[in-house]
Amino acid sequence: MKNSLIAAALIATTGFAQAQSATYSVDPTHTFVTFEALHFGTSTIRGRFDRKEGTVQFDRAGKSGKAEISIDLGSVSTGVGPLDGHLKSKDFFDAATNTSAKFVSEKFGFNGDKVSEVAGTLTMMGKTVPVTLKASNFNCYQSPMLKREVCGGDFETTITRSQWGIVYGLPGIPDNIRLLIQIEAIRQ
């Protein structure tokens, strides 16, 4: 059973190479942005954004793609209630005013038939800055539950938060923030 699922996924992946550009809707249950911030040079604070939506257009044969993903800044979750509150305050996101962060890309890089990077811009706090996400994993499979093709992977980048004007706590909490992005998107 398990082997046949894997075989089905492989066949689906191979067959997909002939397909034209298709639209994929971001699966919110397997799509998260996690950030990492070093705390006073000692330990890494991690947080996650729980609400997001977006679509990806992807043409594996033509090696092109587009993505538009929106993250609700008010959905930040660190496991520490007062820290979540502080992050949403004017010291950081001012989430009441800046409700979302938006990543837009029209440039997918490929290594063979796998997406290797996604270059675009990240807009938040009213500022738009170029950001390139590097893939550490990429794969497409036929979901046995959804009976549809799912493509996704892991991406990461390091941003400099002061570029968006977020300077609170520097340098004890450094300017460089690592972002780890899990994404899976379902073919429509």
Partner: protein, 195 residues
């Protein structure tokens, strides 16, 4: 290696006695700061993307004698307080075939062997107990440092540690192999010295 079962008080008692008999040196006790002590797990989903979740705050303490290069760590992971960002997944994880949070509300890590390279802490070697099954586990130090806490003005140590385990070793086999067996743990800990 056959999994062993042990009750938490016995493990804790062992750690305390190990710390007490550690040497002539005076180890100091550092208690975990609940706002900076968490464990995140990472597991591969359908060979495609990394599913992440968080447990914590962790409860526990470390006994450290850095000059003598010894110490111990005892930490408890509340298995009910799992957070993936998906309430339905969190509930599923607490069920009997996964974390079994009703029967085993806590997982434990106890290390009585700290591996130093000069003054640098490299590894915590100990035993991890999950769902009542105990297995050896090493936490590799990605960074570790001690100093004066910039806000609290008290001695403080902290760092990041990483470990890998196979969930099937602890009897958690649901979803294999589509959700991978290998689970990576990333542990953030900061601890304040007892006054």
């Amino acid at each position: 290696m056959t999994p062993r079962r042990r009750a938490w008080p016995a493990v804790l008692g062992f750690a305390l006695s190990a710390a007490a008999t550690g040497a002539g040196a005076q180890p100091a006790t550092y208690r975990f700061d609940p706002s900076h002590s968490f464990v995140h797990f990472e597991v591969m989903h359908f060979g495609t993307s990394t599913l992440r979740g968080r447990f914590g705050p962790l409860e526990g303490f470390a006994t450290l004698d850095l000059s003598a290069g010894r110490g111990g760590v005892s930490l408890r992971v509340p298995t009910r307080i799992v957070s993936t960002g998906l309430a339905v997944l969190d509930s599923r994880l607490r069920q009997a075939d996964l974390l079994a949070s009703d029967e085993h509300p806590q997982a434990f890590f106890v290390a009585e062997r700290l591996v130093f390279d000069g003054q640098t802490l490299r590894e915590l070697r100990g035993e991890f107990t999950l769902r009542g099954t105990s297995r050896p586990l090493s936490l590799r130090a990605l960074r570790f440092s001690c100093g004066m806490h910039p806000v609290l003005g008290r001695e403080w140590c902290g760092g990041d540690f990483a470990a890998e385990l196979k969930r099937s070793d602890y009897g958690i086999t649901f979803g294999l192999p589509l959700v991978a067996d290998r689970v990576r743990l990333l542990i953030q800990v900061e601890a304040i010295r007892d006054q």
